[in-house]
């Protein structure tokens, strides 16, 4: 199935939004605008955009530390995300969470690797129990496959036929560690050994990812239980900031398959130019809006539960 040109443009636009947003974040650091650190999605945009193109309105997205791309592709507000990272009252979580702890509508992320997966399974269980038709998209990296709770989650998801799509983004590194050093055996085998069917793709072509996601989501939405989409990908930027130990030649080689470049080939020059302007403006506006918002107010702090009652 060939995507219409508007669809193709939209996929490109969404990837471009992520790319430009992340670049702007990296630029904002030296200006002292951002608290904490960040993990940018640069290079992996096709995954979030391709997979989440199959998300329906109320579906749930569970993300990890590298969550900006997932958040934006889930429809999260760009200015609220910028504001969150700048510690503003208008941030996604009013400045409480920062870069890796986002909650908005049906979107959740956290900074402890692997621990989000049982949550994803439980949420999927709840949607099934309530026959809501909603499914859960759960994003994880290759490194998180080191965490035991991941396997506890796969087992439960499979035993209980939970409507969850595991999206495993293998960007070939966990922080500085190549996947071969961290992971014995195979990624696909790990899922399949729990009776979870897999589709494994080595691609940054958003159209291809979209197509794979479509059949994966079909499986999940039709009550056939969990499914794992394993995407071999690459990140172009450092793990967080300035901590890149990879061979620059390797990065260059992978940049040849920049998802934006690939998708650009199916779009007219004029469309690309227009999208470029549109997105630049959107990102600028988002950052301006964030920067002019007030800092999170300590008076807004509350205790997590009533201390005495």
């Amino acid at each position: 199935m060939k995507a219409s040109s508007t669809e193709a443009a939209d996929l490109y636009r969404q990837m471009l939004r992520i790319r430009r947003f992340e670049e702007a974040i990296l630029e904002a650091f030296p200006r002292g605008l951002i608290f904490g650190t960040t993990h940018t999605y640069i290079g992996q945009e096709a995954n979030a955009v391709g997979v989440l193109s199959q998300r329906q309105n109320e579906d749930i997205v569970i993300s990890n530390h590298r969550c900006h791309g997932h958040f934006l592709a889930s429809g999260g507000s760009m200015s609220a995300l910028a504001a969150e990272m700048m510690g503003r009252s208008t941030g996604v979580c009013a400045g409480r969470g920062g870069s890796q702890h986002l909650h908005w509508d049906n979107f959740f992320s956290s900074g402890i690797l692997g621990g989000t997966l049982p949550l994803a399974v439980g949420m999927a269980f709840a949607q099934k129990a309530q026959q809501s038709g909603q499914i859960v998209f759960a994003f994880t990296g290759d490194g998180a496959l080191g965490e035991g709770v991941v396997y506890e989650s796969l087992n439960m998801a499979s035993l209980w036929t939970c409507p969850v799509l595991f999206v495993l983004e293998n960007n070939r590194y966990a922080q500085t560690t190549p996947v071969e050093v961290n992971l014995a055996g195979g990624i696909g085998e790990r899922f399949r050994s729990f009776g979870i069917p897999t589709d494994e793709q080595d691609t940054t072509d958003v159209a291809k990812i979209e197509a794979c996601a479509r059949s994966a989501v079909d499986h999940v939405r039709n009550g056939k239980g969990p499914y794992a989409l394993i995407i071999h990908t690459y990140r172009f930027a450092p793990h967080s900031r300035g901590d890149d130990m990879r061979d620059p030649a390797e990065i260059e080689r992978f940049r040849q398959r920049d998802p934006l470049k690939i998708q650009a080939t199916s779009l007219k020059k004029s469309v690309l130019a227009q999208l470029d302007v549109e997105v630049r403006t959107e990102v600028e506006d988002a950052f301006n809006q964030a920067e002019t918002a007030s800092m999170a107010d300590p008076a807004s702090l509350t205790y997590p539960i009533d201390l005495i009652r």
Binding site: I60, C93, A94, R96, G97, H101, H103, F108, S110, I112, G115, L117, P118, L119, A120, V121, G122, M123, A124, F125, A126, Q127, A129, Q130, G148, V149, E152, S153, N155, M156, L159, W160, T302, Y303, P304, I305, D306, L307, I308, R309
Partner: protein, 332 residues
């Protein structure tokens, strides 16, 4: 006569009948077994769709239940032995307890994790502990301890049906077989339930003179402490009053302060190991509140693992004689 076990079991039936959002999740919880301590008995027969027996995955099931809770269900997780809570520590401390606050209060997590704690049965170092001390003071986590007093089933029911934040619900194993003791049925004691969402109980010997000291306890230790208070009165003519907590964290200290302002002497009794235990916070907060006239001590398990052999276990854990000794020292 109703035992604590029956009271909790009936309460769970009531909860599941009252709300179809309530799910019961744990290892080996299906009938006819009904869980290692039988608290779940009959549930899976009555509510087959909502009782889920799970793989042996303590972290996973607490995490999954957290996910369910976020999405509108009211899951109750049974952790077979409280000693295994360590496996779910990350899910409890870094997930369940934080999610509401991190989301600027938009996410709610009505999760209940129930678990038996405590020794006295010779189960040895990994099946006898009272590990709640490691979870006390976790921001965002409520910790409640069942007692034989009053109505443990009602306490659990409130936690399951009315709470919207995560609760760790502690049940000492030796409570299960004890009869539930309605407040007006406790011989020789006058008992007041101090008004609070999670009750605090004030116990004093009927028609006793001014008490010389205050005991604070929870769970099974409240039973031992009550017997000690009785013997202190009859055998030693030392009169004490007692405060029994059900909510351990966060806690309402007012009833204890009321008493200690009068007695100036405080003994806490807990079954967990002494150092950095529950009593430390009670002493510290009481001291901060009432200032420099307080005399206080703590009685707790020795700072070591719990042995399987009876004589060793008996020595490691606090008992009635030890409570009496501590009281006499404090009162003298």
């Amino acid at each position: 006569m109703t035992t604590v076990l029956e009271s909790l079991n009936r309460s769970l039936h009531t909860c599941m009948k009252t709300s179809d959002k309530v799910y019961f999740i744990g290892e080996d919880v299906l009938d006819p077994y009904g869980g290692a301590f039988k608290i779940a008995r009959g549930l899976s027969t009555a509510f087959p769709e909502r009782v889920i027996t799970t793989p042996i995955s303590e972290a996973g099931i607490v995490g999954a239940a957290t996910g369910m809770a976020i999405r509108g269900l009211r899951p109750i997780v049974e952790i077979m032995f409280g000693d295994f809570l360590t496996l779910a520590a990350d899910q409890i401390i870094n997930y369940a307890a934080k999610l509401r606050w991190m989301s600027d209060d938009r996410v709610r997590v009505p999760l209940v994790v129930r678990t038996p704690m405590g020794g006295g049965r010779g189960y040895g170092p990994t099946h006898s502990q009272s590990l709640e001390k490691h979870f006390l003071g976790t921001p965002g986590l409520r910790i409640i301890a069942a007692t034989a007093l009053d109505d443990p089933g009602k306490l659990l029911q409130k936690v399951v049906l009315d709470e919207n934040d995560p609760v760790l619900f502690i049940e000492h194993k030796l409570l299960y077989g004890l009869p539930v003791q309605p407040l007006n049925s406790i011989p020789e004691f006058e008992v007041r339930r101090v008004k609070a969402d999670y009750p605090v109980y004030h116990l004093a010997i009927n028609d006793a003179p001014q008490p010389r000291l205050t005991l604070a306890a929870y769970g099974y230790m409240a039973e031992l402490a009550r017997k000690a208070v009785q013997r202190l009165a009859y055998e030693h003519e030392v009169f004490a009053e007692m405060i029994v907590f059900t909510q351990l964290s966060p806690f309402n200290l007012a009833p204890l302060i009321d008493s200690v302002i009068r007695t100036k002497r405080l003994l806490t009794v807990e079954e967990g190991t002494l150092t950095h235990g529950w009593g430390a916070e009670i002493l510290a907060k009481t001291l901060e509140t009432i200032g420099p006239s307080l005399q206080a001590r703590r009685l707790a398990a020795l700072d070591m693992p719990i042995a399987a052999s009876g004589p060793l276990e008996d020595t490691i854990l606090p008992n009635i004689d030890a409570i009496i000794r501590s009281c006499l020292q404090l009162a003298s």
